[in-house]
């Protein structure tokens, strides 16, 4: 949690739908100026969380905005007028771009002169002044998303909810839109809660990162902490850890332990008790490859002979699926001289440099 004052707090937030608990958040705090990104797969409850936090659906528990309880000391309407929400679909009104950006101000009865000044400034901020007289339904997907963002920002909200506002856009437009949003957030320092299934978007913008699944927040912390030190297997999968191995600790020595995985011994940092079952999380970028027979493996830690099962070419790198007696995934950059030598069925040597260990409660 950041040191600044909390803006939005949820306590024991519960949403029940058809007798099923679809959201269960014992505690959540978003601080002043913070950009909290929550990643989770479809159906994780991300949208439900945003809707509950903005008091758009019935919930149990407490939501506090700057210390005031929503629906008690702070009326719901007054609260909603401090917020803005951008949904996955732009949902623009069937009118001009100008009128769309004006809609939140009109709802708040802002006088026409002030509204016009704010709208023009907002249109300019998003570089869409030339679209102001266009009918919203004639806009391209990217333009519509920009207008949707502009409509939200025009009301000068104290808190911004973003529900996958960049999904389904082509990469160039998405990048431009993220840059626009980044700029606005930098200028306004608006506290934001952003939910997405896209790790890159989340990492790009967040000051704090969380992982969500089945209506619960599994972990929340600094982006580095969540990405590199997941507390659960599901979080490890969500943050893109390609290899998760189950093993049993066979011995420990000063500051390290040895884990047996499918009959192979893997050395990890930290002292774990022999017999304890653990999960080893290995990021693909922490796996090095070299052709078999090159270099001297003697004395190398966590270096295994492996066979290449499959190579998937991706943008700038290749994803290599290996069989070391246990499955392992490695990334090899295209510019790496080794990359051109690799082919499916080839024998190689894989070296793992960093391993994160999680206690395996399932076993």
């Amino acid at each position: 949690m950041s040191g600044s004052a909390p803006v939005l707090e949820a306590r024991n937030l519960l949403v029940v739908r058809g007798g099923t608990r679809v959201l269960n958040i014992p505690s959540l705090v978003v601080s002043e100026g913070e950009f909290l990104a929550l990643i989770g797969p479809n159906g994780a409850g991300k949208t439900t969380l945003l809707q509950a936090l903005s008091s758009l659906l019935p919930y149990k528990g407490e939501i506090l905005f700057r210390g005031q309880k929503i629906g008690a000391t702070l009326p719901v309407l007054q609260y909603r007028r401090k917020l803005a929400m951008v949904l996955q679909e732009p949902l623009l009104f069937n009118t001009t771009v100008y009128n769309n950006v004006a809609s939140g101000l009109k709802i708040r009865d802002v006088n026409k002169k002030d509204a016009s000044r704010i709208i023009m400034r907002t249109l300019d901020r998003f570089g869409i002044t030339d679209l102001k007289d266009r009918a919203a339904r004639t806009l391209s997907g990217g333009e519509a998303r920009k207008v949707s963002l502009a409509r939200a920002i025009a009301t000068s909200p104290e808190f911004l909810f973003l529900d996958e506002p960049f999904s389904g856009l082509d990469p160039v437009i998405r990048e431009a839109l993220i840059e626009d949003l980044e700029q606005v957030i930098k200028e306004t320092r608006i506290s934001t809660l952003f939910v997405t299934h896209d790790r890159e978007e989340a990492l790009r913008l967040s000051t704090r990162l969380g992982a969500m699944q089945s209506g619960e927040i599994l972990q929340i912390g600094s982006p580095h902490e969540v990405m590199h030190h997941p507390v659960k297997e599901s979080v490890a999968s969500l943050v893109g850890i390609e290899t998760i191995l189950r093993g049993e600790v066979v011995r420990k020595s000063r500051g390290s332990s040895v884990v047996s995985v499918a009959g192979k011994e893997i050395e990890v940092e930290g002292e774990w008790n022999p017999g304890e079952r653990v999960l080893l999380c290995i990021r693909a970028e922490n796996v090095g490859l070299r052709p078999s027979g090159t270099g001297d493996p003697a004395g190398e830690t966590n270096s295994f002979p492996a066979r290449i099962e499959k190579i998937v070419p991706l943008w700038l790198y290749r994803k290599v699926f290996l069989d070391c007696g246990f499955p392992l995934v490695a990334y090899v950059m295209d510019k790496d001289p080794t990359a051109m030598l690799l082919e499916e069925g080839m024998e190689v040597r894989a070296s793992v440099s960093k391993i994160h260990v999680i206690g395996d409660s399932s076993g």
Binding site: Q51, S54, L56, L77, R80, R81, L83, A84, M85, L87, E89, L91, F93, N94, S103, G104, I107, R108, A135, R137, T138, R151, T155, F161
Partner: protein
């Protein structure tokens, strides 16, 4: 062919000379049908929109009843309005049977389910999350409903056109509750039926042409508004 040609010629003469009887019938038709459409607009749009947004047990049954009401036969409406307004009927004390007011009531009963059914469908067709987006913009429930109505305005105009089209062209109910009294409750449709019965085909054709023109001009005006709004 001569019959049709003579009819068109007669119609032209009646129109050009602004025949007082024909004009009277035309204005009454307009007055009755426009008033009935306006009543159906108020009732139909408000109830249709409310039903589109509300969720309660039995809603589906109610919606299916409204949809059935869209196909209400005018003679059935005429029959029941007559019974209700009959001297000994529940509203007989009002003494409005065989008056233009009774015709307005009957036509409003015909048009209201049409406008209601189309309004309901129009609002239901809007994206479900639009309501959330409007509320998230800080709108009150009333502001949200108003914005939704504005969003569905093109379809609502279609509802008005369908309602007006349904009543300007009906004859059964107007005949039964209006009585087709000359100079008092005679409208274009009832006059056409009567003149056809008498074998005055030229007058009947003239009245039909006026009826068609009227229906066309009113729907043309509404279509102009609708198509001006249509995204290009």
């Amino acid at each position: 062919m001569d019959l049709i040609f003579e009819g068109i010629k007669k119609a032209f003469v009646l129109l050009v000379t602004l025949d007082p009887e024909v004009m009277g019938v035309t204005f009454l038709s307009l007055k009755v049908s426009v008033t009935a459409t306006l009543i159906s607009l108020v009732l139909g749009v408000s109830v249709g929109v409310a039903l589109a947004l509300a969720r309660f047990p039995g809603r589906r049954v109610l919606v299916s009843l409204i949809n059935t009401g869209m196909a209400l036969p005018p003679v059935v409406v005429g029959l029941f309005v007559t019974i209700f307004l009959w001297r000994n009927g529940p509203f007989g004390f009002l003494g409005i049977l065989y008056t233009p007011l009774a015709m307005i009531i009957a036509q409003a009963v015909i048009a209201t389910p049409i406008v209601m059914g189309i309004s309901l469908a129009a609002v239901q067709q809007l994206p479900e999350k639009l309501q959330l987006q409007i509320l998230a913009l800080g709108a009150t429930r009333l502001q949200m409903v108003w914005i939704l109505v504005k969003e569905a305005r093109l379809s609502l105009l279609a509802a008005v056109m369908a309602g007006f089209g349904g009543v300007i062209s009906e004859v059964g109910a107007s005949m039964m509750v209006g009585g087709n009294i000359k100079g008092y409750s005679r409208v274009l449709t009832t006059a056409t039926v009567m003149e056809t019965g008498r074998g005055n085909f030229d007058v009947a054709i003239a009245l039909s042409i006026i009826l068609l023109l009227l229906a066309y001009l009113i729907t043309l005006a509404l279509t102009q508004v609708q198509q001006k709004e249509r995204p290009r």
